[in-house]
């Protein structure tokens, strides 16, 4: 792709932006318009990343660059395929459902919480003040084109605030559905989750869809002192879709974030997950499972920034790659000068189901404090044929033996899902994925 055509595409988005700005949520609030305009400038300046950038070395987004995605400004409610409907229903209330970037009041079921969508919050002067304090304060738009694009174009998303000391028992489900309607469209969900001091919440982001589209999502998570957040990201986009997602979490003193990221879908998927351990004694656990078959690329970039002393992080990402799929895991860990007693453990484990599948896995440590413990390990392997023979020698059939061993590889992540309904759902998705990977082999 030449510089010129890149510029042309950018111009397309520049023109789109001017055309729809006044229909985007929060328009008229000076700070929102400024935030969007500033992000738009950054997006145009940055352009789509190329593989010359270290952070995008293995992930060529030219399939995204080549398409002029149409924006979504107004609510369009296409009829949803039955399979999507069933999948949405699998996530119980409280649930917010967004269809093509806009909250869908019929599919949503907010009881017993008073969940707001971001557009609703922006329309309420009281809530808008809270949003203003946080929105766009954590995620970086100066070096991440997709996050900038989202900040300029976001249409809606969830605005979740858990008041001080409150423990929310039910998981909060946020379901994002994209359905192709005519031309390829880009959907930019934007979420803001704030857990006030000492509160506890589990929230689940689910991405589903049908047809060809791009979901470019940004989530900002704020954990105040001693807040406990369990965050699930289930990426189950359609096989013809693109998914780029950035999550930026900010943890204060003794706050705890557990993230579980599961990626099953999408032709090209890039997940960025950044956590700032910005309070003494804060802790994050980042677990991930990504499974990709032929023609797919899944890239997980994580960054844990140890900023304050006595913070700890645990990370385990498991990649399962079949056919000619490509997987990327890049786990960056920064330990700042005064983040003494940092304790960071990172593991990347990968299973290649075919000789054409690839994984690029890389730890990236930058340690500027001296009293720290950092451990990392990466493995890449194939199915153990001795184990297959062992199972077969007990009467277990070839396919079943492979299924058992692939499931065993994912066990550390799947068995650790704490929401029963979610675990069942993931089990089904996983079983289907394995079945199609074996059939394709």
């Amino acid at each position: 792709m030449t510089m010129n055509s890149v510029l042309t595409k950018q111009t397309v988005y520049g023109a789109q932006f001017s055309a729809i700005l006044d229909r985007l949520p929060g328009h008229g609030l000076v700070w929102v318009d400024r935030l969007r305009e500033r992000a738009m400038e950054q997006f145009l300046e940055l352009g789509f990343p190329t593989t010359r950038l270290e952070n995008w070395k293995y992930t060529d987004v030219s399939p995204i660059r080549r398409i002029a995605f149409q924006p979504i400004a107004d609510r369009v409610s296409p009829p949803l395929p039955e399979t999507l409907r069933l999948q949405i229903e699998a996530y119980a209330a409280p649930r917010l459902v967004f269809v093509n970037g806009k909250v869908d009041p019929e599919l949503s079921n907010r009881a017993p919480l008073r969940l707001l969508s971001l557009s609703e919050a922006l329309a309420d002067p009281e809530q808008a003040k809270v949003v203003e304090t946080h929105l766009g304060q954590y995620v970086s738009t100066s070096d991440h084109a997709f996050a900038a694009w989202n900040t300029a174009f976001f249409t809606d998303g969830a605005f979740v605030v858990i008041p001080r000391g409150i423990v929310v028992k039910q998981p909060v489900n946020l379901v994002f559905v994209s359905v192709e309607i005519g031309e390829p469209r880009a959907c930019h969900p934007r979420n803001l989750v704030i857990a006030r001091e000492g509160s506890q919440v589990t929230f689940v982001e689910v991405f589903l869809g049908a047809g060809a589209y791009l979901t470019n999502t940004v989530t900002e998570i704020i954990a105040e002192p001693e807040a406990v957040i369990d965050y699930y990201k289930i990426e189950g986009e359609s096989a013809y879709s693109f998914h780029t997602g950035a999550v930026q979490a900010h943890l204060d003193r003794s706050a705890c974030l557990t993230s579980r990221s599961i990626s099953f879908g999408g032709a090209l998927v890039r997940n960025d997950l950044n956590v700032a351990l910005d309070g003494e004694g804060s802790h994050c656990t980042l677990n991930g499972l990504f499974a990709a078959g032929s023609g797919r690329l899944v890239d997980n970039h994580t960054h844990i920034d140890h900023r304050k002393p006595h913070a700890s992080s645990r990370e385990l990402y498991k990649g399962l790659l079949a056919g000619d799929a490509t997987g990327v895991f890049n786990g960056a860990i920064t330990v700042r000068e005064d983040a003494q007693k940092a304790d960071a453990v990172q593991h990347s484990k990968n299973l290649l189901l075919s000789e054409r599948a690839q994984i690029n896995t890389k730890p990236q440590f930058e340690i500027r404090a001296n009293d720290v413990r950092c451990v990392h390990g990466a493995t890449v392997g194939q199915i153990d044929e001795d184990a297959i023979f062992y199972l077969k020698s007990r009467g277990v059939g070839e396919d079943e033996a492979r299924r058992i061993l692939i499931r065993a590889f994912a066990a550390e992540i799947l068995d650790d899902l704490r929401v029963p309904a979610l675990r069942d759902q993931m089990e089904r998705l996983f079983t289907n994925w394995v079945q199609s990977a074996l059939e394709a082999a």
Partner: protein
């Protein structure tokens, strides 16, 4: 039941079995002994259908049907069981889940209904108790972190649950302390029956004191160089293998 004629098998072009002959009938217990590297495990794995070994020549039949084209899982379902010298560790698969998959695969082949988790659990617990295997071990990942003795007892548990017609036990006695040896030997003896044949591969007379064989064979250089009754094992205990290896060289 098992008939082997002039069996030649190799791995990576290296000949391991060189003209092995053996007949095993229902109800019999055979012991196979022989020096390290003589091909005992190779023989056991070839019987179970391990495909890294190439059967270059010979006949291998089970109830009159050739095993050579039969996959390992079909052999297992038809009633052949191999207790591994080195059982494989499989993290992430619970022992119980594995056992149930195996038992149900074999039952389906025999036209029996599947056992559900509850029924299977009580069956497995009952058999496990007799082998000193506790619930925790049933729930742990298959063989992962099991001690040598625990792995061997777990093999015997599988033997009991799968109820094969031909069992090959490859050094199931090695690595066992006295008590565990007794437990395992009792487990094997309990499996002796007129319908079943058992082949034990061992280096030691001490197992054969408990599991008394009908026939003893000595494998050297990939073929059986001597067969006899249970006294042959005692003779080997005293004289070692060198005299047989020497005879072997003289013949070749």
């Amino acid at each position: 039941m098992l008939r082997i004629r002039n069996l030649f098998a190799s791995i990576d072009g290296k000949q391991i079995l060189r003209g092995l002959n053996l007949d095993v009938h229902a109800g019999e217990v055979h012991a196979i002994m022989g020096p390290n590297g003589s091909g005992k495990s190779t023989f056991a794995q070839v019987l179970a259908g391990r495909d890294i070994y190439e059967v270059v020549a010979g006949e291998l039949t089970f109830d009159g049907r050739s095993l050579l084209a039969m996959s390992p899982e079909i052999r297992a379902r038809e009633g052949i069981f191999l207790a591994f010298q080195y059982p494989i560790e499989i993290p992430g698969v619970s022992n119980l889940y594995f056992l149930r998959s195996a038992v149900n695969a074999v039952r389906a082949h025999r036209g029996l209904p599947e056992l559900d988790a509850v029924d299977f659990m009580s069956l497995a617990k009952e058999q496990a108790a007799g082998l000193g295997i506790d619930d925790a071990m049933l729930k742990r990942s298959l063989n992962e972190g099991f001690s040598g003795g625990e792995k061997k007892r777990n093999e015997i548990l599988q033997l009991k649950l799968l109820d094969p017609r031909l069992a090959i036990l490859d050094e199931t006695d090695s690595g066992l302390d006295i008590d565990a040896l007794k437990i395992v030997a009792d487990g094997i003896n309990a499996m002796r029956s007129p319908e079943r044949a058992i082949i034990v591969v061992t280096h030691y007379q001490r197992l054969l004191n408990y599991v008394v064989p009908d026939h003893v064979h000595v494998l050297v250089g990939g073929r059986i160089v001597r067969s006899g009754g249970k006294e042959l094992a005692l003779e080997l205990e005293h004289r070692g293998y060198s005299w047989l290896e020497a005879e072997q060289k003289a013949v070749v």
